[in-house]
Point group: C2
Chain length 364, copies 2
């Protein structure tokens, strides 16, 4: 924890957040859902996607780019698929409803697949994919986002950090939950280096001419994040392909905006011109384990899989081979007890937000 951080209880932050969403005009149920999704990021250690973004969501609502009372509806469906129109709602509200449609379809026909148009930023991908777990289902969640990433050989930013989450239940072991941006490093990690005035590793970013750089500020000066792999020699065409698949499943399949036309999160950034679709797009999947084999047999094998990997001999200097989801679960265990640390600029931002709505922000 950085020295100047202060810790806040989850309950106090949740109460404040919910009151802000209510003040925006969200229904009681939607405000609860949005709060729960948003704060899962803080609990799981993904500080860039949690309460630090609350004022950003409010600004989108003020700019009339978020509808606080959306009528989320299915506009096309088959027994195993649907396209959901998010009616410009908060992604934090639209996404759980769309994921629930996928889960309901999986109950009926084994799997469910839902592509979403006309939505907004949905928080962390894991919050939605993990809804599948208590149903003994595998959950899949992905979303596109505004363009910050240059495809291999491109100077231009054409893709978002487009994350993929796959959540897989186990038996006695905790679930396998892989939640990853399809870039080498997420933007949040770059922001940490910017604050420290530190250099970025080679392979994270390029400058505005498309040259590799270690300048952590290059992204703000017309540069771009790089796809997972970093450069062609290290497989960046694979990271680019993964980000592209997320974009196409989320937006071309639903009728949302894709590529360079995805609306930006900051409300002060103008909308792209010539937008081909509606809002941003997401894609969700749910697969019932027992649509393939008995859930008990599957879980026994998942436990063996997880234990074998965890027990693997480690390279020099490493404590353990981790299972995807381990770091986030460790964060959650600590933060539920000890509270959620917030940096002073985030606290100040929340205090100002509270003053605007006459909702006092709690002190640590």
């Amino acid at each position: 924890m950085e020295k100047t951080e202060k810790k806040f209880s989850l309950d106090a932050l949740a109460l404040f957040t919910k009151n802000i969403f209510l003040a925006m005009g969200c229904s009681e149920a939607d405000a609860s859902t949005a709060t729960d999704v948003l704060l899962q990021a803080d609990l799981r250690g993904v500080d860039s996607h949690g309460i630090a973004r609350l004022s950003g969501y409010v600004r989108l609502w003020e700019a009339k780019r978020v509808n606080a009372q959306p009528q989320v509806k299915i506009i096309h469906e088959t027994p195993s698929t649907a396209v959901v129109d998010g009616d410009s709602g908060l992604g934090l509200v639209v996404a759980p409803q769309a994921m629930q449609v996928a889960i309901d379809k999986a109950k009926n026909v084994g799997t469910g697949w839902v592509s979403v148009q006309n939505s907004n930023h949905y928080g962390i991908a894991a919050a939605h994919a993990m809804m599948a777990l208590p149903n003994d289902m595998i959950g899949i969640s992905m979303t596109n986002a505004s363009a910050l990433v240059a495809p291999t050989f491109s100077v231009e930013r054409l893709l978002g950090t487009n994350p993929i989450c796959v959540a897989i239940p186990a038996g006695e072991e905790p679930a396998f939950v892989a939640d990853m941006a399809t870039t080498t490093a997420a933007n949040g990690k770059l922001e940490i280096l910017q604050r420290k005035q530190a250099a970025a590793p080679v392979g994270w970013i390029q400058d505005k001419e498309g040259n590799s750089t270690t300048d952590a500020h290059a992204l703000k000066n017309g540069g771009a994040l790089l796809p997972l792999g970093g450069d062609k020699e290290h497989g960046s065409h694979k990271g680019y392909a993964l980000g592209a698949i997320v974009d196409i499943f989320s937006a071309v399949l639903s009728g949302a905006n894709y590529g360079p036309w995805v609306p930006p999160f900051p409300a002060y950034v103008p909308m792209p011109t010539g937008m081909p679709g509606k809002g941003i797009g997401h894609f969700f999947g749910a697969m019932r384990i027992d649509a393939f084999r008995s859930a008990a047999d599957f879980k026994k094998d998942m436990d063996q899989w997880i234990r074998r990997f965890r027990q693997s001999k480690t390279v020099p200097g490493a404590a353990a081979v981790l299972i995807p989801g381990d770091p986030e679960r460790q964060f959650e265990a600590i933060r539920r007890e000890a509270g959620i640390p917030l940096l002073p600029p985030v606290v100040e931002d929340l205090q100002m937000l509270g003053e605007r709505f006459s909702i006092p922000f709690i002190m640590p």
Copy 2:
């Protein structure tokens, strides 16, 4: 093309290959299918997975690890899912049948998802995923493979190069076909460096102690391939997670062998002890485009997506931003006309194979 290569016509290689499969006891239909799948690798420039492996398949059959006359069957299903038992058949034969099950289910309920146990190496992932394209469906294909890859922080090899292919139809533009190993570099690229006595880029492999190395021979000396990303700082935990997802979807979901227990391709390598499942595993998916939106609208947007990316301004020294599938399609266009180049050791190996079965190998 390396100087000593000679070129062979596709038809001549196909005739020889089919006769070998027939000599193994494959049915006429299975021999045709296996030949078609195998040679798609040579056509698309994936020389490591094509006819160069033919004698390897024969040796697996001789070792009684491949059944030339499998009864491939569905052992569990729902409207959108199935588990297929490959009956120890050639993956080249089992995989297209399983993919066809996925396509048939997609015709009925929008999508189809098939996990396969008791199979063998299935050639290139793209051969199966691309079966979806003429049906106006998105195709997905993945397979596990014997362990050559060390997860992040592991000295031990616990995963195969576990490829993922996603094939997406377009309108006037050629289809988007991403086919990628979940490692930084495929083993075939390492073999090229070994032949040239050249160094491998940092991030491709580690030595037997788990240290990063540029020694292209490290893999043969107890080292391991690295997951896409190379090291933790460059996102190797994401490549590891992707390889793990392929392993779990292909094998834990079907009841095949997973992790370090996947049977090796070379027949002389002993089988792992304590194998938890049957054979190797694959996973296939098919999604009907019009289960989401009109195929015509989707294809119009895919064309715009592809053209926008292709027209992107390039970094210094790059000719163009490519769409996944471009390089393989360029290979195919050239090789269908000019023939398929084979290295002398491959030609010698095929000649010996021909002598064994009294099937003369054609001269270029």
